[in-house]
Symmetry: D2
Subunit: 142 residues, 4 copies
């Protein structure tokens, strides 16, 4: 079982990361080292080309990886993104977006993950792909 | 002289990228291939550790590079981030943030830039550093 | 079927990329958008810590992605890496290394792939993970 | 003064990183947090397009950043690249290449640097730009 529950993670976000809450991102599924976050499109996310802007896709990938980290090490809100590399693959239209994160390597001090963002409007192919490194707080290293 | 003015860029953002407007980011300076964007800290940007969250720093670096692209090729809102790699160097406290972008290589189809984000509260050292690739719209390639 | 054969790809490398040939990297498998490259460890690849150095792992991931590109668009030696982001996950000991590349998104002008490098000595977990963008030559865009 | 000398660094490379020695890369200058590495072009580095291949440019950027790390923390051959992101900006012709590395942020456990690679044949504009994260060995953290 994941070492944090969906409810605990959502509460942590609601109380401590208001920016993510304001985007409307919700943790939909959590496995051991995996997490799926869903977000409904909103007109205020659009940029020229009638497509969702990059920072919103970044936020979605980042929060999904943050959840996947805690699925393995338990509640550790002090985990911090130290590097994130994102490729924008195709401009997603308005509509639901899904970020699926997966642990690549969990180390003692650093965790490396990847996240793929899908548009529910353009089925099948991903709209963004990210790789992230997270520094883990000392208390989480068991 | 830059090929877009600060006013034109700010109008483009106001009309077409509401998300950036909602962050309160403002273009402060524009050179030939350079741009500086400033943003005031807001409590809703904080994440655990009383520090500004990553997506906000990403947005700031991204919009500064977007402006630096247009400083050389003129108004081209269809320029799109294709890759962005960001290193978070130290957690910035609440307070003003400044992103300084600089063109590294302007090609016909792609532009590569870097942006450094500074905290006005912790003078001197950068809080984030990003490198971005932007795909340029055909009409801009003169 | 892949649009280039293993023999054709190996011949291209032998004739035109002597550096890769000198590393002893060989294309072992090729699918539609996938490629596996194998390389035997050599003492001259070691760096402090008795581990294979980063540039060799980079070369392996890069050539596997180059092959995976051609598996979908056919022989196109003018495909070029435009961006490569690599995370070194654990230091691989001497011994066989395997790079497995997979297409994430094939566009008209750019292809985005990922490659995972495994050590045959430390079974199971990856030693490096890379994401790469390749610019495709015009003649290949059919 | 830098905390390692050019001679000490070159000796370390000669004795412990034979791959870099075989490329013919030499440390040309060293400052506090900066390093310049030069390499002569060799026919065996070429790839299709009569241009120097990516792994060689990667190696050059990587070793320059490795030297710049030691310029600040002293001899620490166990410093290891944990992430390296490289943008290939234009294909460099045969001829001398120069990599200039610069520290962006030196932390206790991680250092973040950038390196720009220039071709001495195509004056002025860079041929590659890299950003790297290095994990620092415990003994170096004073």
């Amino acid at each position: 079982m994941p070492r944090i529950s969906i409810d605990e993670f959502e509460e942590l976000i609601r109380e401590q990361v208001p920016f993510i809450t304001s985007l409307g991102a919700r943790l939909e599924a959590l496995g051991k080292g995996t997490a799926t976050v869903r977000m409904a499109g909103k007109p205020e996310f659009l940029r020229p080309g009638e497509t969702v802007n990059g920072p919103v896709l970044f936020a979605l990938a980042d929060v999904a990886m943050y959840a996947a980290v805690m699925s393995l090490i338990g509640r550790s809100e002090m985990a911090m993104t130290s590097n994130l590399n994102i490729n924008f693959l195709r401009p997603p239209p308005m509509g639901d977006l899904l970020a699926e994160a997966k642990m690549i390597k969990l180390g003692k001090r650093l965790a490396v993950l990847e996240a793929t963002v899908f548009s529910k409007t353009v089925e099948g192919e991903p709209v963004a792909h990210a790789t992230g490194t997270y520094s883990l707080p000392p208390e989480s290293r068991k």
